[in-house]
């Protein structure tokens, strides 16, 4: 993975010293809250319902064991002994004291981490396929490109005060696991007819109150032109984005208003001016960055073990993924214990994951957009040892990709913006679907829950989405059906009126029972839904309402 150079270390240290001074000035009254708020947000510090929240950037979701141990130590020493992985591959602490945050940032910096640009109207943490560098279906590891974009966008003076926040995703595999069509800019690595790799550039995707899928504005961008083209994209947005209206300020609104073709033409005009300038990426620099992302090239070709241990077999079946290298596997560590809080992980669990990554996983850990963790490279001969370690740590839930692998935003239990709770709904759904056996029977199903329309929990792109709303002090939940996150990205459709929270788990159970009744042989839930349409499930959802 990428290693800081002296410039990176100095830049982060300077920023922490600056923030330490800003905190001191806020505490002694030299800064008002109005003056301080934008400064703390630039350092990932929010003020939520109960406490400050610190969002730590995990660049393209990649961690090593030393970093994970540091996250664990911070959780223990400055929080309540746990952290929360988010859908943007970051980690949030829900309870840090403002007075401690500069010290927390020092500890993060010691392992080459920070919280810069995890908030504010700037280019946020770049996201990537969490299986990058390991996936069997990969054309090219997207992380070097994500790192190049990260370096270009960090403290970029022209793009620090954009009309609104800006999110970029990179995907190098055939399957889109980075969500390129629901990002402001999505970069899909492709190969052209000449056998050269480059990028498809998708623009104007996003969720929130106006969900839109990104549109293709450039089918092939040569790698050396990546930064000049991104600059052109951002310049057009920066100039024409709606700064007058918070709800219309994202690039998706601009692309829709202009039309993707017209937006692409403006980008092309700007690009023509800057393309041959200083932003052209030298081949040597691309090669230098690539060298940081070394990955195991070969392993003893041990097969995946066949075991009589039913729990291990079930876990391997659900949580193991094929690796590009024979003899290796990638493993999903589910952070979705049945009835638990999606994405939460305790300090001791973080340390257990760090130990397993160090002993068996080439010292690499990934955070996923599904709020899980991944050990991307594990020798097949070590799979049982890793599973045993995860069982001991309470992290061996065998439900990756199942209906109990629920994504949920923090919701009204933590978030200042939320209208309704999402975690308790996830917990109740998870418990019911496990008790009834429906989670196993239904197979691959995504359920994602949000407590407000900002959609941090990605309900728009779930097979089954749940959106909490507040009606005169009472929580209601709208169900959406038919969304999808990946290569077949789609925005779900609202199925009807909202349900009371206590009715949601049973409604989803009936929905899945209906699927099991009407599915064709081996037909996945999403395929049945697309074949029969959402109305076929409406009666089941509202049977008892």
């Amino acid at each position: 993975m990428y290693k800081y150079d002296s410039y990176d270390h100095a830049m982060v240290a300077d920023r922490i010293a600056e923030f330490r001074d800003q905190v001191a000035r806020r505490l002694d009254g030299r800064l008002t809250e109005d003056q301080f708020k934008p400064l703390r947000l630039m350092n990932g510090v929010y003020l939520q319902l109960h406490a400050y929240m610190l969002r730590v950037a995990i660049p393209y979701g990649t961690l090593n064991s030393a970093q994970m141990r540091t996250l664990a130590g911070i959780a223990r020493d400055y929080d309540k002994g746990y952290g929360h992985f988010t859908t943007r591959q970051n980690l949030q602490y829900n309870w840090p004291a403002l007075v401690d945050i500069p010290d927390i940032l020092d500890r993060l910096a010691a392992v080459e981490m920070h919280a810069i640009q995890t908030s504010g109207n700037c280019i946020r943490n770049v996201t990537a396929d969490p299986f990058a560098g390991a996936a069997a279906d990969e054309l090219e590891d997207g992380r070097p490109w994500a790192e190049i974009v990260r370096q270009w966008s960090s403290f970029h003076p022209e793009f620090t005060f954009l009309p609104r926040k800006f999110k970029i995703a990179v995907n190098g595999a055939k399957a889109d696991r980075a969500g390129i069509r629901v990002h402001d800019i999505g970069l899909q690595i492709v190969r052209n007819d000449a056998g050269e790799t480059g990028f498809e550039v998708w623009v104007g995707g996003g969720q929130g109150r106006t969900p839109r899928l990104g549109q293709l504005i450039k089918p092939f961008l040569a790698p050396e032109d990546l930064l000049s083209y991104l600059t052109a994209c951002l310049r057009v947005y920066n100039q024409h984005g709606r700064r007058d209206n918070l709800y219309k300020a994202r690039i998706k609104i601009l692309v829709e208003a202009l039309g993707a073709e017209a937006y692409g033409r403006q980008v092309a005009d700007e690009w023509a001016v800057i393309r041959e300038g200083e932003l052209k990426l030298p081949a040597a620099e691309i090669a230098r960055i690539r060298r940081f992302f070394d990955q195991p090239k070969q392993a003893e070709a041990t097969p995946v073990p066949v075991t009589q241990n039913r729990a291990l077999a079930r876990w391997l079946d659900r949580n193991r993924r094929d690796h590009a290298v024979d003899g290796l596997s990638s493993l999903v560590i589910s952070l979705k214990p049945i009835g638990g809080t999606p994405g939460d992980i305790t300090d001791t669990q973080m340390e257990a994951v760090a130990d397993l990554a160090e002993r068996f996983g080439f010292d690499e850990i990934r955070a996923t957009p599904d709020q899980n963790l991944i050990l991307p490279h594990v020798r097949n001969r070590d799979l049982e040892a890793v599973w045993t370690g995860l069982v001991d740590a309470g992290l061996a839930t065998a439900n990756a990709g199942l209906a109990t692998d629920i994504v949920a935003c923090p919701g009204l239990d933590y978030c200042n913006l939320a209208n309704a709770r999402s975690i308790p709904i996830a917990q109740a759904i998870s418990t019911l679907l496990e008790e009834t056996g429906l989670s196993d029977k239904a197979g691959d199903v995504t359920i994602k829950i949000d407590g407000c329309i900002n959609a941090c929990g990605h309900h728009h792109v779930a097979h089954i989405g749940v959106l909490g709303v507040d009606k005169r002090g009472e929580e209601f939940y709208q169900i959406t059906l038919g969304g999808a996150f990946g290569s077949d990205a789609a925005i779900g459709s609202i199925i009807g009126k909202g349900l009371a929270g206590e009715d949601v788990p049973a409604a989803i159970a009936r929905l899945l029972e209906t699927y099991l009744d009407i599915r064709a042989e081996n037909e996945r839930f999403i395929d049945t839904l697309r074949r029969v349409g959402p109305d076929a499930f409406k009666e089941a959802i509202y049977a008892d309402a």
Partner: protein
């Protein structure tokens, strides 16, 4: 009845304003204000941003958060309704 709440500057924790002009984490110790008093007390509290961030009024009913924001303010008072992450990890 109403009372004034905010988040404590140093650690962000939920606090309420007392009848003596101090801040407390105990709702039971918070000032009970009628409509005539509430706005004036809020104005004073808002000037204390060196202690309390984002002061605002909440409604009380039977000495607990009431009105349309009863659930939000109830969660601020009692904490998340999600259960303990530690307990879930060891279940």
């Amino acid at each position: 009845m109403k009372t004034v709440t905010a988040n404590r500057l140093t650690d962000g924790r939920v606090i309420y304003r007392t009848t003596t002009g101090h801040w407390t984490s105990e709702l039971a110790e918070a000032a009970r204000l009628d409509n005539d008093q509430a706005d004036a007390v809020l104005e004073i509290a808002s000037d204390e941003s060196h202690i309390a961030v984002g002061a605002y009024l909440i409604e009380l009913q039977d000495d607990l958060p009431g009105g349309q924001k009863w659930r939000r303010e109830g969660i601020r008072l009692s904490g998340p309704t999600t259960g303990s992450t530690h307990a879930q990890a060891t279940a």
